[in-house]
């Protein structure tokens, strides 16, 4: 059974058809590259999966059950996590504080519950070790490299038992060495049986790490292929429209 199943999903904003009749499914432990030019509908599609928008038409099923979400927090409750393009980090807080932002651990009883710094430092440290990232939980995010910042944002998705992780342009605007780090983080998530959706403009990254590529153009899905049976040239053609559509 697929983790997530989208059937005939459409979204329009007034007269603008942002996403048009898109269907696909996600399997556990699979990395899917979602590609397309600016305005192709990638972000709108991902925002529907993340609970930011409700589809105008179509249905979503999570592990066979119909999925209706009203706000981003609902998605999180269902095990859908998102790594935002700007990473959504607070520079003035520590790495651990950022990992736990919005779901801080507390100890004590009743109204006398205080932040559990020890537990949060410890667990964040474990997550960074799991991600093989040299990131110290007590350091301020302000002083961190691009790769470390990614690790902090990704560690967030590992706090709860996530089933799906959506990553919005994680490799844009970081150095070559850091890209390699991020791709390793993605493989790590996959190895844990998490389905990863990688939205990217960077062909090499998608062909390096993804199992499957979905190409969007003008709101429609124009390709859904195994990476092994495709090529960067074909995908480029699909994105630009030089190739109309492939099965």
């Amino acid at each position: 059974m697929s983790v997530l199943e989208l059937a005939n999903i459409s979204k329009h904003f007034g007269a603008i058809q942002a996403v048009n009749d898109v269907s696909f499914s996600l399997e556990a432990g699979e990395v899917v590259g979602l590609m397309g030019d600016n305005g192709a509908g990638k972000s709108t599609l991902v925002k529907m999966i993340a609970g930011n928008f409700r589809p105008s038409h179509g249905t979503m099923h999570l592990e066979g059950k119909e999925l209706v979400m009203h706000k981003p927090d609902d998605a999180r409750q269902h095990g859908i996590e998102i790594v935002h393009q700007d990473l959504a980090l607070c520079n003035n807080l520590t790495a651990a504080a950022n990992v736990y932002l919005g779901r801080e651990l507390r100890k004590g009883v009743g109204p006398f519950r205080v932040l559990d710094y020890g537990a949060m430092y410890k667990r964040a440290g474990q997550l960074f070790a799991e991600l093989k990232s040299e990131t110290r939980p007590r350091d301020l995010v302000k002083q961190m490299s691009g790769g470390q910042r990614q690790a902090v944002a990704i560690a967030r998705t590992m706090l709860s038992q996530a089933k799906i992780v959506l990553m919005d342009e994680p490799t844009a605007a970081i150095s070559v060495r850091q890209v390699a780090e991020v791709l390793n983080l993605i493989r790590h998530l996959r190895d844990q049986g998490i389905a990863v959706v990688l939205i990217s403009h960077r062909m090499p990254d998608v062909f390096d790490v993804a199992d499957r590529v979905i190409v969007m153009r003008r709101g429609r899905k124009v390709a859904d292929k195994r990476i092994a049976s495709s090529s960067p040239e074909e995908v480029t053609g699909l994105i630009t429209g030089a190739i109309e559509q492939v099965a």
């Binding site: 935002h84 520079n91 507390r106 040299e134």
Partner: protein
């Protein structure tokens, strides 16, 4: 020797001393101590119990309001209405008690007024997206005007049946001969420090000041928290107003005039960052102390009182300058 990943992750990058020296509040404490030492030697009148009593009393009112302001400034906002809210709360208390109600009713009415004003500011800022500067600037005018309306612009110095209770509340010294306002300040500072460091609410306040968008995306209730911080700021102004009323034994519509400058200066000098994300309770108090010591010393050293504004304004600019220098060093 090979360093494992776990060791790197467990490492603490800063020692206690390196953190202390990088802390603006620490240097302001040093400045206050040095200034006090200098003044004790240079003048005969500084280290007298009467003068020190004067200083601590003047510090407390600024410091209590600065504690509330710290919350607002950490979220990246500003509250210019505190001086006027202080006056309005005092006046509500005075008028209510003058009309024959008990001190409890007076204090409740006064606190309720402050909270309503704070909630009004907060809702406009958080839900309707008004710039904090504009909303609270408007409130600065509105609140003082309401205080004039409430009292018909007279001085109130008769507080009805509970007159003596009110004076004792503000002017007494119930514990170890420490003036009550100082006690209130210490208690409120401890509460503020606790909230900022140990509660989820405090953590979220810092998150909003650091990156409001990120806070929203991670599910922090940004709007509610923003309303709460403006209510806290107004509440602290209201409490300071109540205490000051008891201390002075009279309320005029001039009370707290221009206080917002001193309060904002105290928080900034104490290490809070007007861009948001940084601030402490101790910083607010130490900043208030430094301002008061500067003011006091000008008088004692025989410098014309007209220079006061120059020195306080200069101290604000200097504090921000230090912050800039630190940031220049950090970003290559």
């Amino acid at each position: 020797m090979a360093v494992t990943l776990d060791q790197t992750i467990a490492q603490k990058q800063h020692t206690f001393l390196s953190r202390l020296f990088a802390n603006q509040t620490f240097w302001v404490v040093i400045a206050v101590i040095l200034a006090c030492l200098f003044l004790s030697v240079a003048t005969d009148s500084f280290a007298t119990s009467k003068n020190l009593f004067n200083i601590t009393r003047n510090v407390t009112f600024t410091a209590i309001v600065a504690l509330g302001m710290t919350f607002v400034i950490i979220t990246g906002g500003i509250d210019l209405s505190v001086g006027s809210v202080l006056c309005l709360s005092s006046m509500v208390l005075a008028v209510t008690m003058h009309a024959g109600y008990s001190i409890e009713v007076g204090i409740l009415a006064s606190i309720a007024t402050a909270l309503v004003v704070g909630a009004f500011n907060g809702v406009l800022i958080a839900y309707l997206g008004f710039p904090p500067f504009v909303v609270t600037l408007g409130m600065l005018s509105v609140a003082r005007s309401l205080a004039m309306v409430a009292s018909n612009n007279t001085v109130v110095f008769q507080f009805g049946p509970d007159h003596q209770k009110l004076l004792a509340l503000g002017g007494g010294a119930w514990v170890f001969g420490i003036a009550n306002p100082v006690l209130y300040m210490i208690i409120l500072a401890l509460i503020t420090g606790f909230i900022l460091r140990w509660t989820k609410f405090g953590r979220h306040i810092f998150a909003i000041g650091g990156n409001e968008h990120a806070a929203t995306l991670t599910g922090v209730p940004v709007k509610q928290i923003k309303v709460a911080v403006y209510m806290i700021s107004a509440l602290s102004a209201g409490l300071a107003g109540i205490i000051q009323t008891g201390w002075l034994g009279a309320v005029t519509t001039n009370l707290g005039n221009g206080m917002e400058l001193q309060v904002i200066a105290a928080t900034v000098i104490g290490g809070a960052n007007l861009a948001g994300g940084v601030g402490t309770a101790l910083g607010a108090i130490v900043g208030a102390a430094l301002i008061e010591v500067i003011r006091n010393s000008l008088g004692l050293l025989g410098i014309n009182a007209f220079w006061q504004g120059t020195f306080i304004g200069g101290a604000i600019i200097l504090a921000v300058l230090f912050d800039r220098i630190r940031n220049f060093r950090r970003s290559d």
